[in-house]
C-alpha cells in the first residue's frame, strides 16, 4: 500500500524522506565528503584491468562518444554489442591498410657512397709493404689541374673534382697501377662517364694476353671441328656453287702498351661507383667508329646499333672514341718531350721521355704561335693502328689456305705513314676556314699570371693548358668529332654480283614437239638401217 506523502517518482519531492535528503535538514551535505566520494568513484573507474589493460572510465567514454557520433536507433537495445565493438576496435590498427611506402630518396644513397669515398683506407701494414717493393704510384693532383683549367672557364665544380680525386685514389689502391691521370668526362644520355688514363705495372698485363690467347685457341679448335662436319655433309649432297667472297683479312690489334693501346682506361659513372676497365681497342673498331656518330647512353653494355655494324658494344665504342680523341688532341709544349735516343724517326719511335733541359717559353709566345705545342700521342692511320702492318703477311695458318690462290689477288695496300710523334700542331689541318686549334691566354688583365689555353676545334671539348713547366690535357664533352658538313651515314654496299652464268647452269630450251618427233623418226630410221645391215651381213654369211 502506498503511504502518504510523495511516493510517485514523477511527483516532486520524491525521495526527500530518505535520510540526508530531507528538505528540512539544515546541514548541507559535506562538500568535501561528496568530492571525496566522487574522487573515489572515479579512481575506481580508472582502475586498469589486469587482464586487458583497459579501464572502465575510458571504455565508457569511448562508448558514449561512439553512440553520440553515430546515433544508432534503439541504442539501448544494442548497448552490449556497441560495448563489444568498442573493445574490439582496440585491437585494430589505427592506420589504413593502405599505407604510403616510406620512400628513401636516392639522394641519401648517393650521399652514402660519397661519404664512403672519404673513409681512409685501413690495413696500413699491407700498404707499406707494397710501397717498399714498387715505387709509389703517382696520384695526379686533380685539384691543381682543376684550378688551372678553371682560369679558362673549363672544368667541373670543386666538389665533383674532389670526389674524382678521392675516387682515383681508391682506384690506385685497388689496381696495380704505375701512372694515373684524370682523362676527362664524357657525357651520355642517361649517365656520364668519368675516365681515368692509367698505365698498369708491367707484370699485370701479361696475364691478360695469355688469357686472350687461350680463348682464341679454343675458338679455333671449335671452328676446325665444325668445318670437318660440314665437309662430310657436303660430300653426300651436291655442292652448291661456292661463294667467291673472301672477307678482308682482319688487322690485328696493337699489343698492350704500344700504339692505340698504350694506356689502359678505367671508367665509372659517378665518383663512388666501382671503376670498370675498358677492353683494348682493335683497328676494326676504330675504322668503324670513324663512320658512325652515336650518343653514349651511360651503360657500358648497351648495344651500338648502327650501319656499318659496330663490332662491339658501348664499352668498345667508348674505348675507340677515347683512342681517337687522345691521338688527335693530346699535346704538350714543344721540347717538353724528346725521343729517348737518337733513333731513326722513320721507325716510328713510340717512346719519349721528358727533356730535362726544357725551358718553358713565355705565355705570350705559346698563345701566338702554334709551333710551340706538339702532339705526344701518335696519330692513328687509316688502317686503325698507329703502326702500319701489311695484312697479307699474316700468320702461317692463313698462308696455307692461300697457297692455292694467288697471293697477289688482293690489292696491294700501300704502306701508310702518318706524321711522326712529336709533330707540332701548327701542321694540323683545319676544316674549311676553321683552324684546328684556338689558342688564348686566360686573362689579358694580369699578364704575369696568365696561362696559355688551347681549345681543339676538331674535337670540341678537348682543352690543354700550359703554365711554365706544368701542362695538362683534358676532355669534357659528348665524345664526337666536329665536322662542318652534316654526318652522312655510309650507304649499304651494292648488291653482290650473281654467280657468273656459264654453260653449266644455263638452261637449255626444251625441244618442241616437232623436233622431238623428227628426232624420233631419225632414230628409228637409223635403227632400221642398222638392222638391215646386220641382216645383210647375216645373209652374206
Amino acid at each position: 500500500e502506498r503511504g502518504h506523502g510523495p511516493y510517485q517518482p514523477h511527483e516532486p519531492g520524491y525521495g526527500l524522506d530518505q535520510p540526508g535528503y530531507s528538505p528540512y535538514e539544515d546541514e548541507i551535505p559535506d562538500p568535501q565528503a561528496q568530492m571525496l566520494a566522487i574522487k573515489n568513484a572515479k579512481a575506481y573507474l580508472l582502475k586498469t584491468s589486469t587482464k586487458s589493460g583497459l579501464n572502465l572510465y575510458d571504455h565508457f567514454a569511448n562508448i558514449l562518444t561512439k553512440i553520440l557520433d553515430e546515433q544508432p536507433t534503439n541504442a539501448v537495445d544494442i548497448i552490449e554489442n556497441i560495448s563489444k565493438d568498442v573493445k574490439w576496435a582496440q585491437f585494430r590498427k589505427k592506420m589504413d591498410t593502405l599505407r604510403d611506402e616510406h620512400l628513401i630518396p636516392p639522394t641519401f644513397e648517393a650521399a652514402e657512397k660519397c661519404k664512403a669515398l672519404f673513409v681512409k683506407e685501413g690495413g696500413e701494414e699491407e700498404h707499406e709493404e707494397v710501397e717498399e717493393e714498387m715505387g709509389q704510384p703517382s696520384l695526379p693532383n686533380v685539384m691543381e689541374t682543376a684550378f688551372y683549367f678553371e682560369q679558362a672557364g673549363i672544368g667541373l665544380n670543386k666538389d665533383e673534382s674532389y670526389y674524382i680525386f678521392l675516387a682515383l685514389k681508391n682506384l690506385i689502391n685497388v689496381q696495380p697501377i704505375q701512372t694515373c691521370r684524370f682523362w676527362g668526362k664524357i657525357l651520355g644520355l642517361e649517365m656520364n662517364y668519368i675516365i681515368a688514363e692509367v698505365q698498369l705495372r708491367e707484370g699485370e698485363e701479361e696475364e691478360e694476353i695469355e688469357e686472350e690467347g687461350e680463348e682464341t685457341i679454343a675458338e679455333g679448335e671449335k671452328e676446325l671441328g665444325e668445318g670437318e662436319e660440314e665437309e662430310e655433309q657436303k660430300e653426300k649432297e651436291a655442292e652448291p656453287p661456292k661463294s667467291t667472297y673472301k672477307p678482308p683479312p682482319e688487322i690485328p690489334k696493337e699489343a698492350n702498351g704500344t700504339g692505340t693501346n698504350k694506356y689502359v682506361y678505367f671508367v665509372c659513372n659517378e665518383p663512388g661507383k666501382p671503376w670498370m676497365k675498358l677492353p683494348p681497342v682493335t683497328p676494326a673498331q676504330i675504322v668503324c667508329a670513324r663512320k658512325i656518330k652515336k650518343f653514349f647512353t651511360g651503360r657500358l653494355d648497351a648495344p651500338v646499333v648502327t650501319f656499318p655494324p659496330f663490332p662491339g658494344n658501348e664499352a668498345n665504342y667508348l674505348r675507340a672514341q677515347i683512342a681517337r680523341i687522345s691521338a688527335g688532341t693530346h699535346v704538350s709544349p714543344t721540347g717538353f718531350y724528346q725521343f729517348a735516343e737518337e733513333e731513326e724517326e722513320e721507325e716510328g719511335a713510340d717512346t719519349y721521355e721528358e727533356n730535362p733541359e726544357f725551358e718553358p717559353p713565355p705565355v705570350v709566345e705559346m698563345v701566338e704561335s702554334l709551333t710551340m705545342w706538339a702532339h705526344h700521342v701518335k696519330g692513328i692511320l687509316n688502317q686503325g693502328r698507329c703502326a702500319w702492318i701489311n695484312p697479307s703477311q699474316k700468320s702461317e695458318e692463313n698462308e696455307e689456305e692461300d697457297e692455292e690462290e694467288e697471293e697477289e689477288e688482293g690489292e696491294e695496300q700501300q704502306e701508310e705513314r702518318g706524321p711522326p710523334l712529336l709533330t707540332v700542331i701548327s701542321e694540323d689541318e683545319g676544316m674549311k676556314d676553321i683552324p684546328a686549334w684556338t689558342a688564348q691566354a686566360s686573362t689579358n688583365l694580369i699578364p704575369q699570371y696568365s696561362i696559355a689555353i688551347l681549345q681543339s676545334n676538331r674535337w670540341p671539348g678537348a682543352y690543354a693548358f700550359a703554365s711554365g713547366r706544368k701542362f695538362e690535357n683534358i676532355y669534357f664533352g659528348w665524345g664526337h668529332k666536329y665536322s662542318p658538313e652534316s654526318h652522312t651515314p655510309a650507304l649499304p654496299p651494292s648488291a653482290q654480283a650473281e654467280f657468273p652464268s656459264g654453260p653449266e647452269i644455263t638452261e637449255t630450251v626444251d625441244p618442241t614437239v616437232e623436233e622431238e618427233m623428227a628426232f624420233k623418226v631419225a632414230q628409228e630410221e637409223a635403227l632400221a638401217e642398222a638392222e638391215e645391215e646386220e641382216d645383210e651381213e647375216g645373209e652374206d654369211d
Partner: protein
C-alpha cells in the same frame, strides 16, 4: 639564369665541363647590375656564351614586367661592355638558316651570301643591299632560335594573370623528385604552339594559370632531351641534344632553376642519326 644567383647556378651546371673563369664571373657580377640600372630591366638573366673561333660572345637578357614578352638581348665580348641587339625578324631567321659553320668571334665579320645561297643573294642585290650576312645578324637569329626551341622553365614557376602578363609564381616551391624526372613538368618559355591541339580531355586537367605553355613531352625528335639526376637527386639537369651546350638545372623542392648555353651556336642536325 638569374644574374643574382649566378655563382651558385654556375656550380650546378658545371657537370658538362663548361663554365666561366673567375675573371669573367667577377666581371659579370659587376656589369650585370649596371646593365639592369641603365636599361631599367626588372630582371637580368645571364643567357650564356657562344664560342667563336677567335673569340666568344657573352649574352645577357633583360626582362620587363611581363616575363613572357620578347626579351631584350645584349652581347659582350669581355663581360664588361654590353651592346644591345636588335630584335630578331623573320627574314633574319630565314637568311641565317643557310649559314653553317662556327661563329668567327668578330661581330662585324661578313658571310658572303652568294657562296651560300645564290638566290637569296640575288634578291638582296635587287633590293639594293649587299649580299652579305653580318655575324651580328647571325648571332641574333641564333639566340632567338635557341630560346624558342630549347629555353625551358619548370611547370608552375610562372603564372599567367587574367589580364595577360606573366609573372613569377611566388607560391612555386619547386618540383617534387618524382615530377622532376618527367619531361611533362617542363615548359618551353615561348609562345605555345601545341597547346591548342590538345584534346578536350587533356585540356580539362590543365590549370589555365599555370599550364599556358608547351611542355617538352611532344618535342620532335623524341629523346632530344637528356634528363639526369646528379648527386643522387639533389639536382636535376636537362641537357638539350638538339642544341648541344644548353643545360637546364633545377633543385627539386626549392625555387632554384635556370638554363644557360655554353656552346658553339650550331644546331645538331645529326641528332636523328645519333640517338
Amino acid at each position: 639564369m638569374e644574374a643574382l644567383s649566378l655563382p651558385a647556378a654556375l656550380s650546378l651546371v658545371a657537370g658538362g665541363g663548361a663554365g666561366l673563369s673567375p675573371e669573367r664571373r667577377a666581371a659579370l657580377g659587376a656589369s650585370l647590375p649596371l646593365v639592369q640600372r641603365d636599361y631599367r630591366f626588372e630582371r637580368v638573366w645571364f643567357w650564356g656564351c657562344i664560342q667563336g673561333v677567335r673569340g666568344a660572345y657573352y649574352i645577357a637578357e633583360g626582362l620587363g614586367p611581363d616575363r613572357a614578352a620578347p626579351r631584350s638581348r645584349l652581347y659582350s665580348l669581355n663581360c664588361l661592355d654590353w651592346s644591345l641587339l636588335t630584335p630578331a625578324t623573320k627574314e633574319m631567321l630565314a637568311l641565317t638558316e643557310q649559314v653553317k659553320g662556327r661563329f668567327q668571334g668578330d661581330p662585324s665579320f661578313e658571310y658572303n651570301l652568294s657562296e651560300i645561297n645564290a638566290e637569296a643573294a640575288a634578291r638582296l642585290i635587287e633590293s639594293g643591299k649587299e649580299p652579305v650576312i653580318k655575324e651580328e645578324t647571325r648571332l641574333i637569329a641564333t639566340i632567338e632560335q635557341i630560346d624558342r626551341t630549347v629555353g625551358i622553365v619548370p611547370r608552375g614557376a610562372f603564372v599567367k594573370t587574367p589580364l595577360g602578363p606573366v609573372h613569377e609564381n611566388r607560391q612555386f616551391e619547386g618540383l617534387s623528385l618524382v615530377e622532376a624526372k618527367k619531361l611533362s613538368s617542363y615548359f618551353h618559355f615561348t609562345e605555345p604552339v601545341n597547346l591548342k591541339n590538345k584534346t578536350l580531355l587533356e585540356k580539362a586537367d590543365l590549370d589555365p594559370s599555370i599550364d599556358f605553355l608547351d611542355s617538352l613531352e611532344h618535342d620532335i625528335p623524341r629523346g632530344s632531351w637528356s634528363i639526369q639526376l646528379e648527386k643522387g637527386g639533389t639536382v636535376v639537369v636537362l641537357r638539350s641534344l638538339l642544341w648541344l651546350g644548353l643545360t637546364f638545372y633545377h633543385v627539386p623542392t626549392t625555387k632554384q632553376f635556370g638554363y644557360v648555353y655554353f656552346g658553339t651556336g650550331e644546331k645538331n642536325l645529326d641528332l636523328p642519326f645519333m640517338l
